[in-house]
Amino acid sequence: MPREVAIVGCGMAQFGNRTDKSLMDLLKEASTKAMEHTGLGETNVSALYVSTMLAGELTNQTAIASALADELCLVPAAADRIENGPASGGSAVKNAYLAIAAGLFDIVLVVGGEKMRQVPGDRITDLLATMTHPTAEYIHGVTLPSLAAMFTRLYMNKYGVERKHLSMIAVKNHENGLKNPYAHIHRKITLEGIYSSPEAEVNNPVIADPLRLFDMCPISDGAAAVVLCSADIAKRFADKPITVAGVGQATDIHAVSQRPDPTTLNAVKISSQQAFKMAKLEPKNMDVVELHDAFTILEIAESEDAGFFEKGTAHKAVEAGVTSLGGKLPINPSGGLKARGHPVGATGIAQVAELTWQLRGEAGERQVKDAKKAFCCNFGGFGNNVVSFVLKRED
């Protein structure tokens, strides 16, 4: 009989251009904050999961989970590094969930981080591109932005999504990011500045048409951490434990061109359905959502494939303000990947941290009122591996 699992604390090392700290320092900062937030005191963590996609490649250290266990004096806790591309964070949280649910560990620290900015942009672009299909995509010079661009063109032609809808999402997420002290980007942008003025041609240049500069998340350093524990001891640490009510994960055909419908994110669909089914909840029950907007188009597509809007209609909801902080279904109150930033291994955990703060009423200026049920999905590769969670506050 699987045990119920709760989230009892979280912490983040601000995302951005962190020339001041090493990857290990960032992981330590987020971990320490999460453990303090939890109020662990003398209680020992039984296991540590470290999520990072690029650590060995970019920093000269492999087996980082084992190293961190010692750095944090968590020895002899179990430790693993989890890698699942940009969905590493989601996978790490999932693994912590599994271990606790199975009764193997009682308290688990999950931390993810990346140091990506000190490497030339074209090298990072290329490293991230190695996630794509080696012969069907990579050798042709495909990058994730180019896949997202071709996906966007199909989406625009099929469903009537326009450039202005994408810009509206960028404006919204920047606005939310201003209220998030941990976000990478704290800069207001306006629809006039990036879309409707003649200057927008230079302000928001094409990167991979039809996607532009402000349709793409930044490259960031940073770390995020959460602490999970068995629900029966959660009240020791939190008055209002957050339950991991639903978990889902699915893969998709690797090469985007080979998918039966290239505009459907099937892994988002299946993993979200699994998570909702397990939680015995539906998309319409959610109060707040964190989606993986590596590209603005993905916020639209994921919100549809996760069941929040009919396929091909989310852009209208965006235009009507439904998904802004004050709207009926706030999406990415944290600023999303666009403004919060995207240290690849940290993102999935940062999503869970944001929702934890939201459900505990600790989200400050970006608090969604009475948030009790939340959903997030962490998108790996170009949607070929997605991890989804449904979280709820026990009242």
């Binding site: 500045g193 200057e199 230079v202």
Partner: protein
């Protein structure tokens, strides 16, 4: 002695028209005023550039050192036919660009420095200084090179720069690329923006700009 002094003392020696100030909308929605500065304002710009002289990341040190020398040279009458435009946002100096005319038909593109980042300041100011050379000063071509390879690849294509084989750029002898008058007008609608005239209050603010500590900016190219 007088002969030598006049030989070394350089100023404009071809017809010079002033640059009409314009206001550009940035991604933040703020307006950047682009205006020409006078020689007397150079010391303020030197103050702004000085902190960047020791930053080796992204070629800041060399670009700021060269721009510092160019502006100081102009100020002290040792560089001929130089001009400088600045971008002002919310009353603060956001960027500096400079060029000099080799003769009435050829302009040498010097440098572009954005002191505030993330707002495409460098891109707009680069366009403005070339606009001045072609449209107001009447040159046939502008010779461009760059210190930083990052982004130059794209600029070459965006501005349709033509390689000039065997012609060394004044800045250290690198290969020169030319922005011709024809090339400029072909690309103008996608690259050159701004509204004229600048509203009076905004212009006032831009005339008395403040110099604040620069962001560590990414954009620094000729």
């Amino acid at each position: 002695m007088e002969n030598i002094d006049s030989m070394l003392s350089l100023d404009w020696d071809i017809p010079k028209k002033p640059y009409p100030a314009k206001a550009i909308t940035l991604p933040t929605g703020s307006k950047m005023v682009v205006r020409e500065i006078s020689r007397e304002e150079v010391p303020f710009l030197l103050d702004a550039i000085r902190p960047l002289l020791t930053i080796s990341a992204d070629y800041y040190d060399i670009v700021s050192a060269r721009m510092y020398a160019e502006l100081l040279g102009w100020y002290r009458y040792r560089v001929r036919n130089e001009y400088c435009l600045v971008g002002i946002v919310d009353g603060e100096l956001a960027g500096i660009v400079n060029n000099r005319l080799y003769d009435s038909k050829t302009c040498i593109s010097y440098h572009t420095m954005a002191l505030k980042r993330g707002g495409r300041v460098g891109a707009h100011l680069f366009a403005a200084k070339q606009e001045h050379a072609i449209e107001n000063l009447g040159v046939d071509q502008i010779l461009v090179t760059a210190e930083s390879p990052i982004g130059f690849n794209r600029w070459m294509v965006e501005w349709n720069l033509e390689p000039r084989q065997g012609m060394q750029h004044e800045l250290g002898g690198a290969n020169a690329y030319a922005l011709t008058k024809e090339g400029y007008y072909l690309r103008k609608s996608k690259l050159v923006f701004g509204e004229r005239p600048v509203p009076q209050a905004l212009l006032e603010e831009a005339l008395h700009f403040k110099v604040v500590a620069p962001d560590m900016v990414k954009d620094a190219r000729t």
